[in-house]
Each structure stands twice: as C-alpha cells, then as structure tokens.
Amino acid sequence: MHERQPEIEVAAVPAVRGRAIVITSGKGGVGKTTTTANLGTALAMRGARVALVDADVGLRNLDIVLGLESRVKHHLLDVIEGGVTLDDALVPSKYTDSLMLLAAAQNREKDEVPTEAMTALIERLRERFDYVLVDCPAGIEHGFRNAVAGAQEAIVVCTPEVSAVRDVDRVIGLLGNRFKPQLIVNRLRPQLVKRGKMLSVEDVNAILRLPLLGVIADEPEIIITTNKGEPLALRRDDATGAAYHAMAAKIAGEDVEAPTVEMRESFFGRLGAFFGGKA
C-alpha cells in the first residue's frame, strides 16, 4: 500500500481531490463504455487529468474502445491485491497525454473485488486525477455496487427504448439520494423520432426527470471509431465529437447548453411532408 508518487507529479500534490463519476445504466449495450471513453477523452483534451476505471471485471472492454488492449499489462485487481503499483497498472492513452486507463481483470470475477478495496482505490485515484470516470458493468449486482461505492457523482446512459428506460429508472432508485444523476440519451435517431417511431428525449425524461447532460445521435461514425479504437471525441469537427466536448464542458462546470441532436429531416421525410401536409 506504500506507493511512491510518480516523479512527474512530485511538484504538486493537489489539496483538492478529483471528482469520481460513475457511468451507469442498468441495461447492457446502451453505450456506457463508449460514453466513458469519449467523455474521458474530451475532459483530458480540456487539460484535465483523467483516470478511466473499467469496473467491468471479467468483461474488460474499455481498453478496446481506447485502442489500448495491447498495452494493458496489469489490472485493477492486481493493484487492489497489492501485487502491482498504481503507476505500473495505469496505461496512458495514445492520443491524449493526461488520460490514463486502469483496466479490469479479464480472468477474474466481480465477486472477487471487495467493495471497501474498490472505494479505497478510487480514493487514491482522486488524489492524483481531476476526474475519475468509472465504467460500471451492466446489472445491479455486486459489480454495480462496487462501481458506485467510490463515486460521488453519477451519469446514467439511456437509449430511447422501453427496456433501457425501465432499467435506468430502477438504477436511479438504487442510487438513492446520495446521487443526483445526470442523463445522457444515447443512440437517438432523430428521423425516427420525427416520424413518431421512437421515444423522444422529452418522452424519456418525462419519466426519468433528470438533468440532461446531452443527447448523442446513433451515428455510424461511433461504430467506425470504436472499431479503430480511436474515440470520436478526438475529432472536435465531427458533430458527435463536438457533443462529447460540450458535455465535458458541462461536467467541468461551464455554463453551456446540453448538446442535442438536430431534428433534420431526410429527403424522403420532406417529400412525405410535401405530399401529405405537415405531419
């Protein structure tokens, strides 16, 4: 447990601890990991020191999304069990200097991580980073409780689907009064919303009633960048990349609007409106 501070950081040990934010959703596959990678990248590009913690022990994925899978040598449980120092386990991002990843163990199970040890680990990270983003596993069991235990803030990711909203509703209940979670509506398809075929952001938040951090469209670019292991937030010129930067600014306390998705109509949609009157 006696660990040396890295030499580069000897100059200033911050008196103020960083913010530990858990990114959660209940349901799997809604984009928690992609969101964590992109928000972390955007925050780091603002100059903040950011640690990303993959709390999905047994199903490690954050390293893939960040393109760091070949560089991970040690993981979270190695640190918790004392075999490896934090410095050896933290993997620096390829793209952003101040972004570091602490990977999950792939060959272990969530139950093997004691909650107090997880909380203590997050505390140690808060001493060295401005932001500690914890990528929560799906589900509401031990892994969820571990991911939430050390965090002071929560961001919930929800897709505009009945099942996802239901699960987020449950997660909000489990988070309890300790958190006032912020909401990211992910994978919105504006054309479907416009045609009444998808729940709108307003529909989702009429139920969840959370402060909206932002809306991310269901864009092929997210899939493409994830394939490559290059978070889309690296590209500020991309609309979705810019949305992650706007959310990062909001998290950092800037008074900016929550990014939304433009409700532009497709050519065929406009054609339909032209023939059939304003829908």
Partner: protein, 122 residues
C-alpha cells in the same frame, strides 16, 4: 396518392406505443417495489370505509390489474352491516369541497389530502 405518401412517411404510433407501455410498466414496477405503501393504503382505505359501513377487515383485498392500456386498482371490501340512516354515528366535519381547478390539476394529491383532513378531527 396523398394517402399513400402519408402511410409511407407519415407519423406512426409505435413511439406512442412505446411511451404508453413504458408508463404502464414503470407504474407496475414502482408498485412492486413498494409493498409497504400498498399496505398503508389498504389500511387507510379500510379506515375510511369503516366510518360509513361495517367492514370485514380481514377479508379486504386490494389488487392491481394491468390491462392493455391502463393500470387499475381493484378493491374487494366485504361489508358486514350498514346502519339505519337515523342511527348513523355523527359524521366528522365534511372536508371542504376542493376547487374544480385543483381537482383537475392534481386529483391524486387532492384525494390524499382530503383523507387526511377527515382523519384529523377524529
């Protein structure tokens, strides 16, 4: 022709269906997660009805039934006896009639408040 395009591109209601299903499933979820609330409601319900008629308290049943588009509370309250109108115990002061505006704005809250108002003088 217009109808054809409307059907092809016009608004469909599957989003609305999703919204409705979501609202219903969440109501059911919230009820399932709050059994103590249902017990408390049952007790108060029996208490209110007992002021007017004699109720078989042990046989009161309160259930929630889910239909396709709505959630309904079904209460089965066996009544053992009803007093002759002249023998009826003096009733507690009637609750002040709610203003129609308040009634439509928040019917549920209004009802709860009225129940409390009736209990207070007893």
């Amino acid at each position: 022709m217009i109808e054809f395009f409307k059907r092809l591109f016009g608004p469909s209601d599957s989003g609305a269906t999703a919204k409705q299903r979501l609202q219903l499933v969440l109501m059911t979820d919230h009820l399932a997660l709050a059994p103590e609330m249902i017990d408390a409601m049952k007790r108060e319900l029996v208490e209110v009805i007992s002021r007017y008629v004699e109720v078989d308290r042990d046989k009161v049943e309160v259930d929630f039934e889910r239909h396709d588009h709505a959630l309904a509370m079904m209460a089965n309250v066996p009544i053992l006896g009803v007093a002759r109108p002249s023998e009826r115990a003096p009733e507690p002061a009637p609750a002040p009639a709610p203003t129609p505006a308040a009634e439509t704005a928040a019917p549920l809250q209004q009802r709860k408040r009225r129940k409390k108002a009736q209990r207070a003088p007893a």
